[in-house]
Amino acid sequence: MARVLLIEDDPNVRDALTLALKGRDHEVESAASGEEGLERLARFAADVVVLDLMLPGIDGFEVCRRIRSATSTSIVMLSARGDDFDVVGGLEAGADDYVVKPVRPQVLEARIRAVLRRTDGVPSPVESYGALCVDRASLTVSRDGRQVALPPMELRLLLHLSATPGQVFSRQQLLEAVWEHDYLGDSRLVDACVQRLRAKIESVPAEPRYVQTVRGFGYRFGPV
């Protein structure tokens, strides 16, 4: 069971999704606009925001950016079109995953579960790679001694990659391990997440030291 904030302007879609999510034992708050949603979020400690991109007033991309700048709440976008422009824009704005409308409740449920999967802390020493410190027990990351706030999916991606430094993971492998997409996930989720992660932990994001691209295969951590 999770606390879900649903931001969706169409009243019937909003009611239907609320019904479906409540039917799956989630606690659901809903908002009809981005402004209302941001206001709700301040009071309602949501675990995940299900966010429509096409909203009156401030649009979904902007809402996404504002949520990201303030909190580490997970975000699942509702893309009306499934068009590439929407998806790419939403992922760049910081969304963790997306579903395409019309979405079957089982699919939305699976996505919500995946982004909310708790990363269990393991009692292991703090690992440091160059200026980067990864504390697997407290699930914190710091660079040059300063704490770096990472949203859940970025943290999970970093923990997964850094668990075996030097090992190359394909995008498909990362989608299955981190996003729990069973088959043929959208590799752009990985690429967008890597970009956001690099922006936070790399000193020069264009020349990454920690999360490196292996052309034609995927990504690996280090070697530093």
Binding site: D10, N12, V13, D83, K101, V103, P105, D191, G216
Partner: protein, 474 residues
């Protein structure tokens, strides 16, 4: 000799014939007239003069005359090149140009006789006359001969001939030139028309011709322009109508999404409650759920085909192991057991895995639904391409159906009108193949055989590189 049939050759030949005949005709006529005037005129003048002199002589002569006196008379009559002989009747002057024939006719007739002779290429007028005494017209017994060169008159005549000949050659050359000019004047608009018609045929409907002057060719160019403009207008209207209808489909699909989103969201609530409802309501709930799913699939497919039509489909290329991708596609749908596969390992091709999955799932799904088992999937690689062949072992497709299977909403069998597909599956599969620069073809061997070919030599780079096909937005 095809060039002889060309307009240029025909025009030049016509001009040369007309020009040449005119020149030769004019020269011939000139020559004929000149010949009469020059030579005959000179001859007439000479004979008239000769006759007068002989008349004067008949008055002056004193008979009987000695040989010496006759010689003196002759000398008096000689002027320039003119040779005069005054002899007694029947005597033969020592001049080869005075022929026996002339002498005979002189003696036989009372008046003057003449003859034209040519010696060493020079024409001469030779004349002779007996001198008659004034009183009674009795012969004096003396004959006068005259030998005069006609070289001057002949050379004048030759000059006229040369002039006529000399004039004819430039006339023929001028005719050729005029022919070429006329040909150019006609041929240039014809060549322009030829080029313009070809461009129009290639689909460049904005092609127009410059209209020069007001002759038949200019009118033809004008007519061509009107036709091209009308064609452009019609094609433009057709394209606009087609674009509008495609936009309409895209808009309708888009508008259907929101109500479908609401309906889809509550289907599992409905389904969960169906068991608690009475039989009819439960059946109704399950039916609505199933139909919403079908409608969703149809709208999804319409949206997808609209993206292809709008050129908005984007290829997300990854370096993919084709056999592994095909196996994963079958496995994820629980089809592995029902399909015989021949999947050689390590064929890596840059392609969009999601789109490959759509194609393979559609082909195998169709074969399983409509074909006869066993369904086989074979992957084969050549140097340039990789082919994925999906076949069943049924009777195959009728020949009249084969050309239409990739058409939208084409249903081979009316009884199959309510299959679970949207009717767009194969059309979308083929568009996906074309987007990769490949192709999807169908054949009816034993069973229906669909073959997807994808090129291997696409530039493989960072798998995150997204390639947009040329001419496509965004």
């Amino acid at each position: 000799m095809t060039w002889l049939r060309g307009l240029r050759a025909r025009l030049v030949i016509t001009f040369v014939l007309v020009g040449g005949l005119s020149a030769v005709g004019a020269a011939g006529l000139t020559y004929y007239t000149a010949q009469n005037n020059l030579l005959a005129g000179a001859q007439d003048r000479l004979l008239k003069d000769f006759r007068n002199r002989v008349l004067l002589l008949s008055r002056d002569v004193v008979l009987p005359a000695s040989d010496g006196e006759l010689a003196l008379l002759a000398e008096d009559l000689e002027v320039g090149d003119r040779k005069v002989y005054v002899v007694r009747d029947g005597a033969i002057p020592s001049d080869a140009r005075i022929t026996a024939e002339l002498r005979t006719s002189v003696l036989r007739r009372p008046e003057l006789a003449w003859q034209r002779v040519t010696r060493d290429g020079v024409p001469y007028l030779v004349a002779g006359s007996r001198v008659m005494l004034l009183a009674g017209g009795t012969p004096s017994g003396i004959t006068v001969y005259l030998v005069e060169s006609l070289a001057q008159a002949a050379s004048d005549e030759a000059a006229v001939l040369r002039a006529a000949q000399a004039a004819a050659l430039p006339v023929v050359l001028l005719a050729v030139l005029a022919g070429l000019l006329a040909a150019r004047g006609v041929l240039r608009p014809v060549a322009d028309l030829d080029r313009a018609a070809r461009r129009l045929g290639e689909g460049r409907l904005e092609t127009r011709l410059p209209v020069r002057g007001g002759d038949e060719l200019a009118r033809l160019a004008g007519r061509f322009n009107e036709t091209a403009a009308a064609l452009e207008r019609s094609v433009g209207e057709l394209r606009e109508m087609e674009a509008r209808s495609r936009r309409f489909v895209a808009d309708v699909s888009h508008e259907l999404r929101t109500p479908l989103a609401a309906a889809t969201a509550v289907t599992d609530v409905l389904q969960a409650g169906a068991d608690r409802l009475d039989a009819d309501a439960g059946t109704a709930a399950r039916l609505v759920t199933a139909e919403v799913a079908r409608l969703t699939k149809l709208v999804d497919d319409l949206m997808e085909i609209s993206r292809f039509d709008a050129g908005a489909a984007v290829l997300n290329l990854n370096d993919v192991d084709v056999s592994a991708a095909v196996a994963a596609c079958l496995r994820s749908r629980g089809w592995s057991a029902g399909v015989t596969t021949d999947l050689p390992p390590d064929i890596r091709v840059p392609l969009d895995p999601r789109r490959l999955d759509v194609i393979v799932a559609n082909l195998v799904g169709n074969a399983l639904r409509h074909g006869t088992p066993p369904v086989t999937v074979r992957v084969r690689a050549t140097g340039q391409a990789v082919a994925i062949e999906v076949a069943d072992h049924g009777p195959g497709l009728p020949a009249d159906v084969l050309p239409h299977v990739f058409e939208r909403f084409y249903k081979a069998d009316a009884a199959r009108a309510r299959s679970e597909g949207s009717g767009l599956g194969l059309a979308i599969a083929r568009e996906n193949a074309l987007l990769h620069g490949g192709d999807l073809t169908v054949a009816s061997g034993p069973g229906a055989v669909f073959t997807l070919t994808l090129p291997r030599n696409r530039p493989a780079g960072d798998p995150s590189v997204r390639t947009t096909p040329p001419g496509n937005h965004p």
